[in-house]
């Protein structure tokens, strides 16, 4: 593409380079990728605290054996809603927000390819989450079947009350939102990239999001189809998941996890992308193995479609199925290992400094690897029979989501906030936030491995006395972790309002402009950028690809 015009070019008397409109309406009708990115990120942050509050309710109830604060049905609503809100309201939108802000900046594009649809995908997200949240205030409460919404339990009146149709339509809206966002990202990357930037020059964050966008388009309709069948089974007398009519509840599990497994990579691939962006800058070296990172990402995405039934080892599959899904799952460790070694090799003999984004990124590499190892343990079908539906799986996926996805989202916040706002965050408080989070997250989740191995089932409000000690420790870790995140909230607000008062350069981080295009722009980033595409693109990050 060449240059960019906007509506105002049709009015000769208008200012050429104008800023944002004034007032609240700006945020409702905006088509600017930076505004929409901000909306996504703030919404995700709000949902992070909503979902986090639910987690605090769960940990408070589990602080001691016996029923303390909430009744069991509400407890199950909390585990269900905590998962749905965190996955669909916090982590996914946060990464879409980062994509909105960063992809156009990183590829030299003036905006997203389809700006009106970009606005719509954000509001569809809000509508979907509102529908879901409305169930909290309904007769019978929010869904309490677990976030997987398995039949037949999700179809029982006691499990969902009046919530099921709202949850189903919420999934439809969230699906539409994600698909629109993904289509926009694909069109932007393919069609709006600066002509001088080849595919293999793209920053890893752009690559990982491109691949994630394909995953989203390929699996969100699958989830929509699955919940549609739940709806018709409940209200229109169909028998998809009813054995009496010739159907099979296990079919739902297959469809759900055909969506669900790529879904977990939708949350982790952009995480890898951000880590691959941050680590080279603070190690002051090009990313080790750029091309292998791209191919590893693509391999993980491909494998994600052919391993879904490892979530269902205990459902009663033929032995051939168990073996196939076991070995296929283990294969994922190969490209994932490539990534972990590449990050480590990037840091090797680098001139490292440890600002907050780097601290979170290093913690990510270490703790994500732990989550990966427990995943490997559970890929072994006969072992999974022991761990299945225990706190071991809870520990496993929280290690891959909290000190991985969430930590990297924090890192991204610290890393790019100075760029976006032109203000520096408070490094001392940032590091305090990091150390409190890194220590408490391990107090929170590490003991859950022991609980799971000892046989404590997940999704229960009460437990045998033998699990009491580790649960109390886990809850204490949870409370510290939850409280620590208020520091992040403070830092975000403080940085937006001026931060340390220190003036940041366009580059913000030392030699960052050699790594990626956004650092060649001034800080704060002007409202309109790259109205003419850059002619030179940094290639430092791809040095060893050539």
């Amino acid at each position: 593409m060449s240059a960019v015009i906007d509506e105002h070019d049709h009015h000769a008397d208008d200012h050429h380079d104008h800023g944002p409109a004034k007032g609240l309406l700006r945020w409702i009708v905006t088509t600017n990728h930076k505004d929409i990115g901000t909306l996504y990120l703030l919404f995700a942050l709000a949902m992070f605290f909503v979902g986090g509050t639910m987690a605090m309710v769960i940990r408070a109830e589990l602080f001691e054996p016996g029923l303390q604060f909430v009744d069991p049905a509400f407890f199950n609503s909390m585990t269900t809603m905590h998962a749905l809100v965190m996955v669909f309201g916090a982590v996914m939108p946060a990464f879409v927000g980062l994509a909105n802000w960063q992809i156009p900046l990183m590829i030299g594009a003036a905006d997203m390819a389809l700006p009106r649809m970009n606005n719509m995908s954000f509001w569809m997200l809000v509508a979907g989450v509102l529908l879901l949240a409305s169930t909290l205030f309904m007769e019978g409460g929010a869904p309490n079947s677990g976030w997987t919404l398995y039949p037949p339990i999700v179809l029982q009146p006691i499990t969902v009350g009046k919530a099921l149709p709202f949850a189903v339509f919420s999934v439809h809206l969230l699906g539409i939102s994600s698909i629109m966002g993904a289509i926009n990202i694909i069109a932007t990357i393919f069609n709006m990239r600066a002509p001088s930037m080849k595919m293999m020059d793209m920053p890893l964050f752009v690559w990982t999001w491109l691949i994630t966008a394909f995953l989203l388009i390929a699996v969100m309709p699958v989830f929509a189809g699955a919940v549609t069948m739940l709806l018709t089974d409940k209200f229109f007398h169909t028998s998809f998941f009813n054995a009496a009519g010739g159907g099979d509840p296990v079919l739902y599990e297959h469809i759900f996890w055909f969506f669900g497994h790529p879904e977990v990579y939708i949350m982790i691939l952009p995480t890898f992308g951000v880590a691959s962006t941050i680590i080279p800058i603070f190690a002051r070296k090009p990313l080790f193995g750029y091309a292998s990172m791209v191919w590893a990402t693509a391999s993980i995405a491909f494998l994600s479609f052919i391993v879904w039934a490892h979530h269902m080892f205990t459902v009663g599959m033929p032995i051939a199925g168990e073996l196939y899904f076991m070995y296929a799952t283990m294969l994922i460790a190969v490209p994932t290992g490539v990534k972990v070694f590449n990050w480590t090799a990037t840091m090797w003999k680098g001139a490292m400094t440890f600002e907050t984004p780097m601290l979170f990124s290093i913690a990510f590499v270490v703790l994500f690897t732990m989550g990966g190892f427990t995943g490997l343990m559970m890929s072994i079908a006969p072992s999974d029979f022991q761990y299945h539906d225990t706190y071991f799986i809870v520990a496993h996926f929280h290690y891959t989501l909290v000190p991985a996805s969430i930590f990297i989202l924090m890192a991204a916040g610290y890393f790019w906030l100075p760029k976006w706002t032109g203000h520096m965050y408070n490094e001392k408080i940032g590091q305090l936030h990091f150390w409190l989070s890194a220590i408490s997250v391990n107090i929170l989740f590490f003991p859950q491995h022991f609980l799971g191995l000892a046989g404590m089932p997940r999704r229960i409000p009460d437990y045998a006395v033998q699990f009491a000690d580790w649960n109390m420790i886990s809850s204490i870790g949870g409370f510290i972790f939850g409280a620590s995140q208020l520091l992040f909230l403070y830092i975000v607000i403080d940085t937006i309002r001026g931060g340390t008062g220190e003036k940041v350069t366009g580059e913000v981080w030392e030699n960052a402009a050699q790594h990626s295009l956004e650092w060649t722009l001034p800080s704060p980033v002007p409202y309109h950028t790259w109205t003419t595409p850059p002619t030179m693109v940094p290639t430092e990050h791809v040095l060893d690809a050539h």
């Binding site: 509506e7 088509t31 390819a113 389809l114 509508a127 388009i217 069948m229 010739g246 099979d248 469809i255």
Partner: protein, 283 residues
Amino acid sequence: MSTNTAYYIPHKATWPVIGTLGLVTMLAGFANYLNGSSIGPTLMVAGLFIFIVMLVGWFTLQATESESGMYNHDVGISYRMGMMWFIFSEIVFFAVFFGTLWYTRNLSVPWLGEGATKELLHPAYQAVWPTNGPGKVGGDFEPMGAWGLPFLNTLILLSSGVTVTWAHHGLLAKNRDQLIKGLIATVALGFLFVAFQAFEYHEAYTEMGLTLGSGVYGSTFFMLTGFHGFHVCIGAIILSVVLFRSAKGHFKPENHFAFEAAAWYWHFVDVVWLGLFIFVYLI
């Protein structure tokens, strides 16, 4: 040909948030209706109204902008990519139901008729397709044959694929008359298809005892053909908009994204029907 050489980026968009409001009102109304709340239908109608207003407004805006030459070649590429991946997501959505049909016929129904499941639970059950399961859910029914209306509908949809291509040739050859006639024929065939299917459904419900509740056969039959029929309606509405615009003199041989998108969508609907005819009706 577009007069702008630059990529057009609108500064604000009011229709997306209105459309979202319409859709969420409609869905909240439907959910309330399913829960037996009296406010449901009102909300649904209100939401549908807002949604239609949005469609008319947004389509008009896009058509005006397009005709005034604000979209350059690159904008057209973005639109084409958008439509292509949207259709891909629709294909995946249908794949779920085709997959369900495959799983049911090849796995879950045979499993119900073999081994301990059969001996202990329902020894009399014959696990042969079509079936409404060991519980005879929905009562006796007659399965839908392939060679009556469904075959006629196949011919209708295939012909409509030809007429839309004929219309496209007319557009490319600057033959407005052929364009409009081709589109009229396509839309008419589309609605004829829907009418025949409605008739088929009526027959199924009143004569054959075949309903959405007829076990897993009825479920898969009506889910697949129903969602397809819904998509035929969407496609026919899109084509009607394109027809309306063609009559107003819109589209040029080198710039007619809306027509192309409508035609792509129509071919997608067509191909899905062929899959349905083979896997739902024939086999």
